[in-house]
Amino acid sequence: MAEPETIGELLSERGISRRGLLKYAAYIASLMALPPWQSNAIADALAAARRQSVIWLSFQECTGCTESLTRSFSPTLENLIFNLISLDYHETLQAVSGEAAEEARRSAMRENKGKYIVVVDGSIPTRDGGVYGAIAGQSMLQILNDTAAGAKALIAVGTCATFGGIPHAQPDPTGAVPLTSLIKDKPIINISGCPPIPEAMAGTIAYLITFGRLPDLDHLNRPKSLFGNTIHDRCYRRSFYDKGLFAKSFDDEGARRGWCLYELGCKGPVTYNSCATLKWNGGVSFPIQSGHGCLGCSEPDFWDKGGFYHPLSTPTGHPTAAVGTAAVAGIGVGAVSALLARRAKRKATSTGEKP
């Protein structure tokens, strides 16, 4: 029997009807903030598309991003993404090892030259010629350069790959850098977070396969549909912030009443992500709903921003200190603080400093 050529044929062979694809398309349209009436077009495009070759490279990382993608999924609807792609290389998930594994990567690169997508998780060590990270006798730096050369696009998943993350935190002994610092001639999508929300990874890949192009990206190369709002903008505790009602400690009356965690160090006002709407663990909760402030893990250098329990208004040398007065006055300053954060980032980028 001939191998199915399109995703539609493959799904049909696996007993998944076009209704299943329509349901998936409704899910993806909602996830990626696409016009909901495009569901039919998305289903048609996916049905006609070929499976996308994906090479997943793991560098300086903790495997949390892979855990997020695989462990948090229920076994059917969201898992459909694994029918849309051909995961040709992934050190943690592949069955083969050693030379056979490396040959699988090289083979996928040869057979799909110019068409494959490279997913990178983890930062890349560059100090001393990149000697601080090697796989199969090659430095991570070399593997990335070789593999990226024939790629159609690259997706950096997790804050390590997108912004350097924890390996890049001070004192940064290995000279860890994000993907965008090294690859300049290919389209790159950043999906930040420590780890990223699994739906964000799956939705972005599905978008690429469906439309054959990148989704709209923000100034940090992140899909606007998933990173267009701050946690603060969509937080269910926002009304307490607007009324000036703040928890002062984790066990006071305000905390028990579910008041805003801003003064306990919540970084929600300067953090762009979808945690407040998509949530975690199958939509059960997200950090703020569980009583802890946002750590800001999807933003650059979140580890070096002066302490998770210091409110943004505490003088830390960071420009967002200016938002404190407004917060006490109970004014909604999410947009202002976000603007300040972006200005800081731009300034840091232009001067080569960390923001």
Binding site: K23, S74, T76, E78
Partner: protein, 129 residues
């Protein structure tokens, strides 16, 4: 918020009635709490048709008490809401059998008939002897 959504539904229902234009409102993209959703469900009510689907997890579709306005809720196998929308249309597309599935079904049914036809002939032959 609930009234705003209802006004949009009313506008799109007029478009369906006058020009045959279908519309969809993605409820998950709106900052609606579970209380808002409940209020919206109550305001729209339930009409004559309810359909249960079992595709990659359950889905439930019902026509509201306003014909042409359908509530479509897709769940995954853990009963988490994957998509929830109001469709303004005569029949939601997902209820219709898609042509590729019909083609496969026709082939499958013919295969089944062929499979069952063969033993029946044998049985008849046995009867004759």
């Amino acid at each position: 918020m609930v009234s705003g959504v209802l006004r949009e539904v009313a506008e799109r229902l007029e478009a369906l009635a006058e020009r045959g234009e279908c519309g969809v409102i993605d409820l998950k993209s709106l900052p609606l709490s579970s209380v808002h959703l409940q209020q919206l469900r109550e305001r729209l009510g339930r009409g004559e048709v309810t359909a249960q689907l079992e595709i990659l997890g359950p889905s439930e579709i019902w026509e509201t008490r306003y014909p042409g306005v359908w509530w479509v809720r897709h769940l995954d196998v853990t009963d988490r809401v994957a998509a929830e929308r109001i469709e303004i249309t005569r029949v939601p597309d997902i209820l219709s059998a898609a042509l590729p599935d019909v083609v496969t079904a026709a082939q499958s049914l013919n295969d089944d008939l062929a499979l069952y036809a063969a033993p029946r002939r044998e049985s008849t032959d046995h009867g004759r002897t």
